[in-house]
Amino acid sequence: MDLHQQFTRVIQENKGLIFKVSAMYTNSADDRNDLQQEIVYQLWKSYESFKQESKLSTWMYRVALNTAIAYLNQTKRRVSTIPLELDTDRFVESYDKTEEEQIQQLYAQIQSLHLLDRGIILLFLEGKKYEEIAVIVGITPSNVGTRISRIKEKLRTQLVKQPA
């Protein structure tokens, strides 16, 4: 298997990661698709030099999150964003209105957080351990714990301010 095929397989296996990071940092389907492609491009650029010193997912999250920030800068998007519009037509088979609303609310809440907290919560929701979040983000594991507690508190405050 040559490098291109190897890379394509890695991307296919991790397409969810790329989609979710892109969705958290953009406001429209067009921007999300652009960012997805940009992330793939950046991953490919450093794929050869990836020496497996860290886990593959750690490296992928790092590149994806960093690219999202660079993209945000390039496109001059505002830091606080509006809730993302999901492509409901792409989910016709499994369409569930309550689930859809929940996901919309999830996006809105994550996007209301500032950039650092947004990255941390995304990794937390992906089921990453504090140690891995710390490596990707560049803070200590205990700081990750403190920040997640603070985010929980922030989300609770939002809940009080905006009762469902």
Partner: protein, 197 residues
């Protein structure tokens, strides 16, 4: 939505994403085989067009410099050229993307810090740009009139209507721009402060 509910919604989202036909093999291969033009760090047409207009105007004034009479008028002409040359440089410098960050090596915090600092720098440079634009508005007017051999006092309603209206529109625009810049500046500064906590 509490964090536990968010986890449930996230799990639902993850399941849905897996079923989607995104990032097809063809698209990934095309990207990997360099058939994709990266958008990051590319210069936009609007930036190039703005630079071209400013440099063309600077060229126009330079070519006609000898036709401008009077020492102070020539000083204004030189000032106009300088402003026209500086404006695009400031703009181009301020819109550059996150530079100096190795996307595959830098941590998320390092990238955010660079992003926030560049955003702050951008907002400050844009403020200078707005100020320079105002200077240009007043300085270029007598210079252009002089090049075209017109006497400013002969232009009807120049000082009573045209200049005040022009200045008012410009100031209103500048106020609107700077107000939004100040909000971004505050957001970025508080983000940096929070990271350093």
């Amino acid at each position: 939505m509490e964090l536990e509910e968010m986890q449930q919604a996230w799990a639902n989202l993850s399941q849905r994403v897996e079923k989607q036909d995104i990032l097809t093999t063809h698209l990934v291969e095309q990207t990997a085989r360099q058939r994709y033009h990266a958008r990051l760090n590319s210069i936009k047409y609007s930036e190039l067009a703005g630079t071209f207009v400013c440099y063309a105007a600077a060229g126009y004034v330079s070519v006609h410099l000898t036709r401008i009479e009077g020492f102070w008028m020539q000083v204004l002409a030189v000032l106009t050229i300088v402003v026209l040359l500086i404006l695009p440089i400031l703009s181009l410098a301020s819109v550059r993307a996150v530079r100096g960050v190795n996307i595959s090596v830098a941590t998320y915090v390092e990238t955010i810090q660079t992003f926030a600092r560049q955003k702050i720098r951008f907002q400050r440079l844009q403020k200078i740009n707005v100020l320079l634009g105002l200077v240009l508005l007043f300085v270029s007017l007598p210079v252009l009139a002089s090049i075209q051999g017109k006497d400013l006092t002969q232009i009807p309603y120049l000082w009573t209507v045209l200049v005040p209206v022009g200045a008012a529109v410009f100031l209103a625009f500048a106020y609107w721009v700077l107000r939004s810049y100040n909000k971004i500046l505050t957001d970025m500064e508080s983000l940096l402060t929070d990271i350093e906590k």
